[in-house]
Amino acid sequence: MIERKDLISDFASIGADELLDAAQDFKGKGYRLGQSCATKIPDGIEVLYSFERDNVIKNLKVTIDDKAPELRSVSAVYGYAFMYENEMHDLFGIKFKDLSLDYGGKFFKIAMETPWNPALVKGGDE
C-alpha cells in the first residue's frame, strides 16, 4: 500500500527581476521545473512557472508588459526550460534573455500568424 499524499498547489506572485533567483532557490531545494506557460490578462501577460517536489507544487507568477514582453530565461538554472520558453516566444511573443537554446521563432510552425498578442500586432486591438 502507498501512503496517500494529497497534492498541494501554492501560488505566489513575484517581480520579473526575482524570477531567476527564485528558480535557483527551488533547484537548490530539489524541486523540478514541472511546466511553464503564459496567459494573456488585461494588464499584460502572466507567465507561470510550476516547481514540484514530493507532490508539492509551488507556482510562481510573473506579470510582464504585453507591448514589449521580455523576461530573463530560467534555462540557465533548468536547462530544459528552453522548450517552454521557445513555445512562449513563438505563441505569445515573449523575448527571453539568455535563452540557452533559442530556435529564433521557428519552433512552433503553425498555420496561423503568431504571436497571439494583439499588443504586438501593428494596428491590432483587443
Binding site: I2, G79, Y84
Partner: protein, 359 residues
Amino acid sequence: MAKRTIIPFGPQHPVLPEPIHLDLVMEDETVVEAIPSIGFIHRGLEKLVEKNEWPEMVYVIERVCGICSFGHGWGYCKTIEGNMGVEVPPRAEYLRTIWAELGRIHSHLLWLGLTADGFGFESLFMHTWKIRETILDIFEETTGGRVIFSICKVGGVRKDISNEKLSEISEIIGNLKVELSELTDVFLNDVSVKNRLVGVGVMTKEEAVEFGAVGPTARASGVDNDVRRDGHGAYGELSFVPIVEAEGDCYARCKVRIREIFQSMNLIRQAVKQIPCGAVSVVVKGNPSGEYVGRMEQPRGEAYYYSKGSGTKFLERIRVRTPTAANIPALVHLLPGCDLADVPMLVLTIDPCISCTER
C-alpha cells in the same frame, strides 16, 4: 572536419507515428545536432476554454490525445475537483484507475507495435496490435467508445461497470497475460531486435534528471519517478512500486514499457478484487474560481494541468503540459552522436505524441 549536411527528418516519415520535424545536422553518418520544430497539427484546444463551459471542457481535453484520452479526461477532472474541493466517491476512483490502467496497456501495446514496425518486424507489429484490440473491445463494452470515451466527469464517472463485468474483464486480462508473455520473449530476447535496441541512445540517470525527462523514458534511466506514487485514485489502496531499469538505452525503454503492461494488468486485477460498492459520482455545485495545478501519470509520463477559474461557467485558462513536451529536451540532447540509422529508434523510444504536445 567532415562536410556538414542537413537531412530533414519528418514531419512525414515512414517510421514517424507523429509529425515532428527534425533538421539533422550530419557529419558523414553521424548526427551532430538536431533542431526540432512542431506545430503542424496545432488545434488550439486550450483556446476553446473561452467557448465551452467548464463541465463540457472534459470532452475537449480528452481530445488532446487519441491514445491516452481517458487519462487526460481524468487529469482535467482531477484538477477541477482539486480547485473546487470535490470529494469523489471511492467506487468512481477505482473505476477511473481501472480505465486508466487499461489505457496504459493500450498505449504501451500501440507503442510496441509501432516500434516493431520501425525496426522492420511487421509480423511482431501485427501480433502486438492484435492483443491491443482486446483492450479496445473492453473500452467499447464499458464506455461505448474505442478512442474517445467521455466517461469521466467532474465529480466521478458517468457510468458504472457491474461487478460481473469487472470479473469478466479480470479474466480476459489474465488470458492476455499468457499471450503477451510469448511476445515479450521476442521483444526482449530476439537477436535482431536486440541488435537495434541494446546500447542505442543511452541516457544516464544524471542526464535524465538534467533534461527533465519523465515517464518510462526517465524510469528506463533509473529515475524512480511516477505520479501514481502519491496514491491518488485507487493507487493508495493497491500494491504498486514504479518499474525502473538502469541501462538507459532503447532496450531499457522497451523493457520498462513491457513490464508496465504486466504491472497494469496486476493493478486492474487488484482493483477488481477490492472495488467497493457505492455511488459513482457526486453532484458538483458552483463554478471554479482561483487557480490550481494538478498532475497525472499518463502512459508516456507525467502530465500537468493548470486551470484558472473566474467564478463563472467559463475558465480563464486551461493549460496541458504533456509528457512528450517534457521529453523533447532529452531527445534533442540524445540525438547528437548517434548514427543516422538509429535516429528512428531513438525518436520512437521516447514514445512521442506530438499532437498532444501541440494541443
